[in-house]
């Protein structure tokens, strides 16, 4: 059977990548070529922004900022003209002031430093809370 001897399956042998016979270093999957290119692009964008003095502007986008103050009792935007925030953040569902005292209920976020129970109690005792 000389033909069968030629058709015998030959297992691939590991290729030595060095003259010494040591197996070549295989980098991890995350250290590929395009990972390096992507990191270079991000670094280049950061340096580009730093060159033009725009880095602080973009860093501000990654930072959680203080929410804009909620609309007052009339529904108008209380932050209009005070900052660069858009003027469309007026809350149409803003709770009106107390018709008896004229005071803004303290459970409006940002208007009181009370804890949750205090604010929730004020909410229950508010004269408008029971109206349909």
């Amino acid at each position: 059977m000389p033909i069968a001897r030629h058709l015998k399956r030959v297992d691939p042998t590991p290729v030595a990548k060095a003259a010494t016979g040591a197996v070549g270093f295989e980098p991890p999957s995350w250290a590929g070529y395009w990972t390096f290119v992507t990191a270079t692009l991000i670094l280049a964008f950061v340096l580009y922004l730093a060159k033009h003095g725009r880095l602080s502007v973009w860093l501000a986008f990654f930072t959680p900022q203080t929410p804009a103050p909620i609309a007052n009792a009339t529904g108008a935007d209380s932050s209009a003209g005070a900052s660069a925030a858009p003027s469309t953040n007026a809350n149409p569902n803003a709770t009106p002031a107390n018709p008896l005292t004229g005071a803004i209920p303290s459970y409006i976020p940002g208007s009181s430093a009370g804890n949750f129970l205090t604010n929730f109690g004020t909410f229950l005792l508010h004269p408008l809370s029971g109206t349909k």
């Binding site: 290119v37 280049a44 964008f45 060159k51 900022q65």
Partner: protein, 120 residues
């Protein structure tokens, strides 16, 4: 690439929380696309990607890495008077004024201003 997606996702989430998507759009238009017909980072990034693709096609990725590193190094050395003070001011509270510095400080507080430099 996953790192880029994480950064992009964080940027979008923070933009939604802060509600300053209009400022982000203006900053993107000014810095990436280029405002007023002046090339922004888009041309710079296209050049970097072109270099990477070229060295990948000729089968010399390691040479491409070295070349890209040299590109970044030359960019830093050429503009070190503007880049290094801006990078130093990230951690510190007092921002050193760089050329074309916008009105906002480097602390990142407050709404970002879109009245920065327009020259690329």
């Amino acid at each position: 690439m996953p790192l880029a997606f994480v950064a992009l996702a964080w940027l979008l989430v923070m933009t939604g929380v802060n509600g300053n998507y209009a400022d982000l759009s203006a900053a993107f238009k000014q810095d990436v696309s280029g405002a007023g017909g002046q090339g922004g980072f888009l041309a710079f990034g296209a050049g970097v990607i072109s270099i990477a693709v070229f060295f990948r096609l000729i089968g010399m990725p390691n040479a491409g890495k070295v070349f890209l590193f040299l590109v970044i190094l030359v960019f830093v050395i050429e503009n070190n008077s503007a880049i290094l003070p801006a990078l130093e001011s990230i951690g510190g509270g007092s921002a050193a004024p760089a050329t074309g510095t916008p009105s906002t400080t480097a602390t990142g507080s407050g709404a970002p201003s879109t009245s920065g430099a327009t020259t690329p």
